[in-house]
Symmetry: C2
Subunit: 205 residues, 2 copies
């Protein structure tokens, strides 16, 4: 049976129920760790499910940050240092990745606390997650503040890609199913995915 919720129904739900519903109702999301470096040199890493493609030329990605009602280490570090990394979560370390969502103080590196290893390159002054098979280094590009709720859409320009070369298809596709990459719904539900089909470019029939 199809159930209907009005806006009043949604606003009348408990906060936890509404949060779970609204976070999962738009489907599977990418599971990524965003790495940053604090002004004191602490390597920060946190799980994000909102990374989206913004454009290929220049290569840009964006992600949502919650409103700045409390200190946000990831945002603060990106603004202070100008760089961040996006690291895809894969099956062997998804539980450590989830643990980075715990509230550690800013002197604590989530790398140490969660059993992940930082990795640095000359091109990107922010920590990559060594365990990840698909890593992106980005330079801060721009941000947009959402009027409706104070959330922030942050955009970075890709300056470096580190990828297990076995995951690169002949036409540039990343073979996520071989990573194997994790998909996530909401803040807590982790999935493994299986390829159904790569469909050809669609034309009117």
């Amino acid at each position: 049976m199809e159930k209907t919720f009005t806006l009043d129904d949604i606003l009348g739900m408990s906060q936890a129920y509404r949060r779970n519903l609204m976070n999962t109702i738009s489907g599977y999301k990418s599971a990524n760790l965003i790495g940053t470096l604090s002004h004191a040199g602490v390597a920060n890493v946190a799980v994000f499910n909102s990374v989206v493609h913004v454009g290929a030329t220049p290569p840009c990605l964006g992600f949502m940050l919650r409103p700045l009602t409390v200190p946000r280490q990831t945002y603060h570090n990106i603004k202070a240092k100008g760089y961040f990394t996006i690291n895809q979560i894969a099956l062997p370390f998804f539980e450590q990745a989830h643990q980075t969502s715990a509230k550690y103080d800013e002197q604590t590196s989530e790398f140490d606390a969660c059993g992940l290893r930082p990795q640095y390159t000359a091109a990107c002054p922010a920590p990559y997650v060594q365990e990840s098979p698909i890593k992106l280094g980005l330079q801060y590009e721009e941000e947009h503040h959402i009027t409706a709720n104070g959330a922030i859409f942050v955009i970075g320009r890709v300056v470096e890609v580190l990828i297990d070369e076995q995951l690169l298809g002949a036409e540039g596709h990343v073979l996520l199913e071989n990573a194997p990459s994790i998909a996530v719904a909401g803040l807590d539900s982790y999935y493994r995915a299986e390829l159904l089909a790569r469909l050809p470019y669609a034309r009117p029939k």
Copy 2:
């Protein structure tokens, strides 16, 4: 072996290779059909992989639209009518959903052309996709133009949810694996997902 691409390497790739790489490299995405109504009453529907959660209170979702270098029916209709729908793609109709990405003229309804059925309610003057088990009606809220490339981040406020009640978990989670919902990578790679775990709220250990 880990392969490194610099920004120059990325910009030196063929356009098709770079597009495939940059669209798939940030991981699995939600597969949704966005439904709109034209000023002439034609029901439009198109596939989008960039829907993200913006906030639960008020309930808002956003998605990326490509730059307005050519007419964009979805954008035009949302601006003209003020409403749109987001409909999750499920296994039984993912090939019809992909076919909506073909370039039909604006007099042609992709519903008719691709074998999908529009569904209307009193609360939302935009067409839902009847085949979808998880449907959202949204009112246009705001938009942000990306300086880096002219893309547009469109945000809507959820005014109605239509959902198969068997897909609602006790705490508000949508059980995507039972829909069964589709995940997508880039513009062409469709996946089915299997639940690994719902992990508890993380706290420092």
